[in-house]
């Protein structure tokens, strides 16, 4: 099963194509990383996959050919958007209540145990938490939905190194222990080295390269994911600017 399948997918804002001719199939059971510079179309692709945006061209399906944004797709995908939006004036307990109410499944014991472990008091307002705690809260709420696919948009961009490490540890634990497929975007290459097993390289609104990390490294003779990504992004840029 593929967690995300796109064919000829494109999104246009006004006259600008934020994403075009995107065809890819991301297999289940992986941590897939969407890598590329700012403005590469990563957020657009994620928004299309979670059903927040409708495509201007082509089609995208998720979780085995379910239309993005359909009830079944919403049910199986948990999305943590950039800057981890939370209702800042509500308490942590209220955020748990709301997320539980808005979903068919919610693992309350898991959420509470996670927050206790993180030392996040439930009475505190979400807006009063540190950036790292807010990110962890958003991630905990997403995982407590017991999704089949977890989608994260630039999850660690705003976090300090310790918070980054902790956040990615939680993601990895969910992926390895519970078999949750993960799709995350990032422009921080070093963070992905440890976690990603599938790579989608993007620049200027196009997918430049996609595949298993081990296959890509072997096929292109690069020692690390970072080296591979840098090589491709440098190469891709002049081609697209014509």
């Amino acid at each position: 099963m593929n967690v995300v399948e796109a064919s000829g997918l494109g999104k246009r804002y006004g006259r600008t194509w934020a994403l075009r001719e995107c065809t890819l199939a991301i297999p289940a059971g992986r941590v897939a990383a969407l890598v590329g510079p700012n403005g590469a179309g990563k957020t657009t692709l994620l928004n299309l996959a979670v059903g927040l945006t409708a495509p201007s061209a082509g089609a995208v399906t998720v979780l085995g050919r379910r239309p993005a944004g359909s009830p079944a797709a919403l049910d199986g995908i948990a999305f943590v958007a950039q800057d981890t939006p939370l209702y800042k004036t509500l308490s942590v307990a209220d955020m748990i209540y709301i997320t539980r109410s808005l979903n068919r499944r919610f693992d309350q014991p898991y959420a509470q145990a996670r927050l206790d472990e993180l030392g996040i008091p439930q009475k505190r307002k979400a807006g009063k938490l540190s950036g790292g705690q807010q990110a962890q809260l958003a991630l905990t709420l997403a995982l407590a939905r017991r999704p089949r696919l977890l989608v994260l948009d630039e999850p660690v961009a705003a976090l300090d190194p310790v918070a980054r490490h902790d956040f990615m540890a939680t993601v990895l634990a969910a992926a390895s222990a519970d078999g949750v497929s993960v799709l995350l975007s990032s422009h921080v290459l070093t963070e992905l080295e440890r976690v990603a097993s599938y790579l989608v390289l993007m620049s200027r609104g196009r997918v430049q390269l996609a595949g298993q990390v081990s296959d890509l490294l072997a096929a292109h003779g690069h020692a690390s994911l970072e080296e591979l990504a840098l090589h491709y992004l440098r190469e891709a840029t002049p081609e697209v600017t014509r």
Partner: protein, 348 residues
């Protein structure tokens, strides 16, 4: 750090996928909007207590003045002046006109605008509940709550203003129940206008996507709509009645215009131009000191002029209420439907 493991998710067929129950939105909506709703409750509650206390003595004094016989006696005059002394800043209704737009702007405008402004729509619209259902449930729930609160308050206003629009001309300023500043505070006018203000706020918030500009826009649009309705639209709900000078227009009618004709043709408006008035300027012609129609009216009639008055009788209060309530309800439904449609199709 060791993360706790999430239990494996059981595989389920899409066919067995039941939507998240609608009723769950009640608790969600309450948690998100309790401050705004509590604000409305406090505002209306404090005003209601004041109106209740003031209204008790007002209605009591009115009942006493109405029952007093004979009306010309000194005792009755005393009761009339007691009533007159109760004429206060609320009497003309202008102050309370701000309540519907304030409720609409501060409850309605932030509902969607805050989600869009802070980015939380990316959270809300990707939950299992579904964004269209989320919008429908939240907006209908808030609309019903706000309208119900306004209906209860409107009932109190209807009762409070009874002495001002009653049939007895006593100490209070004489007012028709159709007078613009009181008409939409009484009957179903108050809840209907509050609902409309809420709906305007919701759609403004969805279109403008920022809380403060959406609040301002709501107040402006509401003001324009209320002014246009009171000034131009309401008069035409039913064809006005026409009365010649021989037929007395009821005291509590809403007079729309007066004009004079001669030989079946329009002559002039309410007041005669000086060349015509000069016909009646001699004392013998019976001109009143103040130049009122009572003075020069009969004289002009003798010269072949006829006066016409178009008016809406006070008995049309309820038909007018239903007409206005009806189109406001339709408009509100349309605005909310438009907001839901925008939510379901808006790109992130």
């Amino acid at each position: 750090m060791t993360a706790l493991t999430t239990p494996a998710r059981p595989d389920e067929d899409d066919a067995r996928l039941r939507p998240v129950p609608w009723r769950r939105m009640a608790g969600v909506t309450w948690r998100q909007h309790r401050i705004a709703l509590a604000g409305v409750a406090v505002l209306l509650g404090v005003l209601a207590v004041y109106l209740w206390l003031a209204g008790l003595s007002l209605n009591h004094a009115y009942a006493a003045a109405v029952a007093c016989q004979p009306a010309s006696s000194a005792a009755c005059q005393g009761l009339d002046s007691t009533l007159d002394g109760m004429d206060n800043f609320l009497s003309n209704g202008f102050l309370l006109q701000v309540l519907p737009p304030v409720i609409g702007a501060f409850v309605g405008a932030p509902v969607l605008a805050r989600e869009l402004e802070t980015g939380t729509f990316r959270y809300a619209w990707t939950q299992g509940f579904g964004r269209r259902r989320w919008a429908v449930a939240k907006l209908l729930l808030l609309a019903v709550v706000v309208t119900a609160a306004a209906a209860a308050f409107g009932a109190l206003l209807t009762w409070y203003y009874e002495p001002f629009v009653g049939n007895q001309s006593l100490g209070l300023p004489r007012t028709t129940p159709l007078t613009p500043a009181l008409f939409d505070l009484r009957g179903i006018g108050f809840p209907a206008w509050t609902l409309a203000a809420f709906a305007i706020g919701v759609l403004a918030g969805m279109l403008i996507r920022r809380v403060v500009p959406a609040i301002v826009a709501t107040l402006v649009v509401y003001g324009g709509l209320a002014f246009a309705t009171a000034g131009f639209l309401r008069v035409h709900y039913l064809t006005p009645l026409l009365a010649s000078i021989n037929v007395s227009v009821p005291d509590n009618a809403w007079v729309i215009s007066q004009w004079w004709t001669k030989d079946g043709r329009y002559a002039f408006g309410r007041y005669p131009p000086s060349n015509i008035l000069n016909l009646c300027s001699s004392p013998a012609a019976g001109t009143g000191k103040d130049g009122s129609p009572e003075g020069w009216g009969p004289c002009l009639v003798q010269h072949g002029y006829a006066m016409w008055t178009s008016y809406q009788p006070a008995s049309r209060f309820w038909p007018f209420q239903w007409i206005e309530g009806g189109w406001l309800l339709g408009l509100s439904a349309l605005l909310i439907a438009a907001a839901v449609w925008l939510v379901s199709r808006r790109a992130a």
